[in-house]
Amino acid sequence: MAATATAPSRAPARARPRADSVRNWRLRQRVAFAAVWAAGLALCAIAVAIVGFMAVKGAQYLDVQTVFSHPRPGVRQIDTGGILDPIEGTLVLTALALALAVPLGVVTALWVVEYGRPRALARLVESGIEIVAGTPDIVIALFGLALFQLPILGALSFTSSGGGVFGRSFFAAGTMLSLIALPIVYTSVREGLTAIPAQMREASWALGKTRICTIRAVLMPRLRRPIVTGSVLGMGRIIGDTAIVIILLGSTPQISPENGPPVLGLLRGTGSTLTTFVYDASPAGEGNAPQKAYAAAFVLLALVLIVNLAVDRLVGHERV
């Protein structure tokens, strides 16, 4: 073999002897090596280009006034106001969706890992979570529309005088967005649970504690980090989701609460988020205000990046 022809006479100290240099490879392998490097560098270039481009556009079109003023309808871009309502909408929706997804995900993971009987049911729940994770968000959005247009759930959105239920509100969008975050929270908590050594549970059971007591006193304190990691990862997905919000939030540029008590009225009302604002302001939507779209997309990307950095801090660097 070409690789061994120039091998050093002394025994190699490492698994990879010095003679294994690209120069000794066959032509086909060298071409492949070049392709691998090209692909890796291209990947970095694409990622840097996207972030860099958005940063430049953001710096160009984003100012304090844009962030802190309400969107207005207008013909010229200068008249169309800012992105305060979409930012608030994003925050409200994220909080609502996480408030639903985190307890549900944690409880499901606890039950599957700690109880898990009957076994067939636990397996079914696990595959159910995977199915939810694989379902396109646009399908979840249409499901949500069908669900919240039921007359029983009419109280959660706007009901017209004819009795037709609108089915679009912060409630509807938040509930469906929680389905996006649920699999992520679940997976994170399940990994956390399986990483806790069995003797911790066994020690607690040996002291006569029940399983639920063990969960409360022994397991929960160790689940803090997985829960936070899962929530933050889920938050990233929620912030970035567009299809569900377009269908279920009504896409009114300004937050428009329904009648009712302050918080409840807001949640029953419609609004927009950064993602739908970008969509509406792009040439694909009605608005056609590319500068505002760039500004909102920059804020959106910045939020996602911050979330990403937070996850990095939480889990370390080697995970892809």
Binding site: A3, T4, A15, R16, D20, W25, Q29, F33, A35, V36, W37, A38, A39, G40, L43, C44, A47, I50, V51, F53, L104, T108, W111, V112, Y115, A122, V125, G128, I131, V132, G134, T135, P136, I138, V139, L142, A146, L147, L182, T210, R211, I212, G240, T242, A243, I247, T275, V278, Y279, P283, Y294, L300, L301, V304, N308, D312, H317, E318, R319, V320
Partner: protein, 324 residues
């Protein structure tokens, strides 16, 4: 103070919450299927997936058919959308798979330590960028660029009576979709390559294989099932991508014929998911609504099949004791 839960109570209560997921899935299939039913019934089962007539005209005609639409109002032939979905997803996954495999090999084997420490966060970042940001870059940068500089005037005039070439095209849709699905595949392939037991690769190296032969002949070969699974799951993601395609692909249910040569990739296209977003304003008309839910049912069904497919594809690796 209330008594603490007994174990049996806790088991039942937590179990009930966990089973909520199953209830949700059943409800999802049921709700979507019930609303899709008129379209399925009036078009005779799956015949609506076939070709025939202009899908845009058929959808447009549905809007004005009123609250109690006659059976004829549901007439639909959705082949251009099905074809567009398969075309975009297939091309994006095929190109993305080759690229993702090379990138994964780079990250696992060849990247210098510093560069690897930089590449991994970048992959994760690309995976986290919202689809609407990709769509915005596509529609404001790539579409005008393709429309003004890449499509020639000759190509535009050759098809001007059938379709207008503005730059919103298969090319841009596939390009952006590739960038969106590649990071997912990279992450899964990197995990699989790393899960290959060190004894296998070290054994190969001890037998005199060089680095390329070790990674290609042993690691990639052992990880083949996971690579297939990655492609399948990326496919599920690509099929369901709605917003980005709605922004860049032109929103016209047009089926580009790839046999036409280079002009075909500059023609507009639309997918099932994107047409749901595009038509969402008209969803109050019963015929349109039923049609869109039929699209959603199709997407739901295919994502279900692909989820199962991804699981089955990984089984051979599990049998060898590699946990992916």
């Amino acid at each position: 103070m209330r008594a603490p839960w007994t174990d049996r109570q806790a088991h039942r209560r937590l179990g009930a919450v966990a089973c909520l997921v199953l209830v949700l899935i059943v409800a999802m299939v049921a709700f979507v299927a019930v609303r899709a039913w008129p379209t399925l019934a009036h078009n005779g089962g799956v015949a609506w997936l076939g070709p025939g007539g202009s899908t845009d005209h058929q959808l447009g005609g549905m809007i004005s058919t009123g609250r109690h639409a006659p059976a004829a109002a549901y007439h639909l032939r959705a082949w251009p959308l099905v074809y567009g979905t398969l075309l975009c997803a297939g091309l994006a996954v095929a190109i993305g798979l080759a690229f993702a495999l090379l990138c994964a090999i780079f990250i696992v084997e060849f990247a210098p330590r510093r560069l690897r420490a930089m590449t991994i966060p970048l992959v994760r970042l690309l995976a986290a960028v919202p689809s609407v940001v990709f769509g915005l870059i596509g529609v404001l940068v790539l579409v005008p660029f393709v429309g003004n500089h890449i499509v020639s005037a000759h190509q535009k005039s050759s098809v001007q009576y059938v379709v207008e070439l503005t730059g919103s095209s298969v090319l841009v849709a596939v390009l952006v979709l590739t960038v969106m699905v590649t990071p997912i595949m990279i992450a899964m392939i990197v995990d699989a390559l790393r899960a290959v037991p060190a004894s296998w690769t070290e054994g190969a190296a001890a037998l005199g294989a060089n680095r390329w032969e070790v990674i290609w002949g042993v690691s990639v070969r052992a990880a083949r099932p996971a690579i297939v699974a990655a492609a399948v799951l990326a496919c599920a993601r690509a099929l369901g991508e709605a917003v980005m395609i709605a922004m860049v692909a032109g929103g016209r249910a047009w089926a580009p014929n790839l046999l036409d040569g280079a002009t075909a990739i500059f023609e507009p296209v639309n997918t099932l998911a994107a047409s749901i977003v595009g038509q969402s304003e008209a969803i109050t008309a019963p015929a349109v609504r039923s049609t869109l839910y039929a699209f959603a049912l199709l997407l739901l069904f295919s994502s279900l099949v692909l989820s199962v497919g991804g699981y089955l594809a990984k089984l051979p690796m599990r049998r060898q004791g590699i946990r992916v």
